[in-house]
Symmetry: C2
Subunit: 198 residues, 2 copies
């Protein structure tokens, strides 16, 4: 193992899933890909996404206080890359790239018709961390393709969902469904038992 | 697409990569798996991880103000599942599961010898979001296996790194290196050019 003091740009924790942030303000709609995002809370349902002040989306969310988070299958990598490599200052992205949109149900922001899951978010909080701002969305509605999830917790069916994962340096990949394994409390107990540690 | 108001538990955005949070306080060392985490900033280098107040790790970090984030290959899924399915209140996990540790270089918290990358973090900020707390770590040092990264940005080599991804419901999977694709500014320009939109 090598050791370095923190470098300026680093991708050691990648790959990471991509979400497409859709915003709407002043009659304009914009989309950007984001790789820095995470769930924050179950109750209330909160989800955070980091956006730089340089981004067109930053001002859109500042004004509209709403956004949607769209999760697209790897077959739509082109869409994810298009909206991630261009700025809303230069392009009306939905028009330029023929990206199908539909109205949100709760928020006045479109959702992407190609997505397999969408979170409709109302801005709950925001906080600056270094060179990015954490926008905290309260999830007020969820759209999902019901064929892709199972059980009352809506767990993804890995044979059906191929998320877009970002590696860094404009490269992407997706998951390998054949590697799926269950490994939980039951399996751990069995091992502890076998080892005489339970 | 189905629509629901936000459910109590939801995994629509999964799979998500797992990191193992190591903490040390009062002579005790603990490890837990976390699925809610994200980079927050390049400059300064900040990384956030969400931890519930119920977790043993919560109090450890509150006291020590330091932690390490450890990224393990899928071949060590067992370790990730062990530390994710047990509590430090019941088990001295490193001892029980024979998990090899070594000293951090900057922080007084161990790092996991099995990890392919580790961030040493000093607590920079913390904030409560609903039922979890966002611990913001300033990355003061990075350990990494130099065979697994390339270029000056340290981009992961996908044939070599198989991250542990969590699906929900105690299930995991990893990536498919054969699906790697570059799709960036150059490719987008080419398409715009072909379409006569540039």
């Amino acid at each position: 193992m090598k050791f370095i003091k923190a470098p300026k740009k680093f991708y050691f924790h990648y790959p990471f899933p991509v979400t497409v942030v859709v915003s709407k303000s002043g009659g304009k709609v914009n989309m950007m890909s984001a790789v820095w995002h995470t769930q924050l809370s179950f109750d209330p349902p909160l989800y955070g996404v980091l956006i730089s002040k340089k981004r067109y989306t930053y001002n859109m969310i500042e004004k509209a206080k709403q956004f949607t988070l769209n999760f697209l299958d790897y077959e739509f990598l082109e869409t994810v890359a298009f909206v991630g490599s261009t700025s809303g200052r230069e392009y009306d992205k939905a028009h330029t790239f023929d990206i199908p949109l539909q109205d949100g149900r709760i928020v006045d922001v479109p959702i992407m018709s190609e997505a397999y899951a969408v979170y409709e978010c109302e801005l709950f909080d925001e906080k600056e961390y270094g060179d990015h701002t954490l926008f905290v969305g309260k999830i007020v509605g969820v759209h999902y393709n019901e064929k892709l999830y199972t059980g009352e917790k809506f767990v993804p069916v890995v044979e059906e969902i191929h998320p877009v994962l970002y590696i860094g340096d404009e490269k992407f990949l997706t998951t390998d469904p054949t590697t799926e394994k269950k490994y939980g409390k039951e399996e751990v107990k069995r091992f502890l038992n076998e080892w005489g540690k339970l």
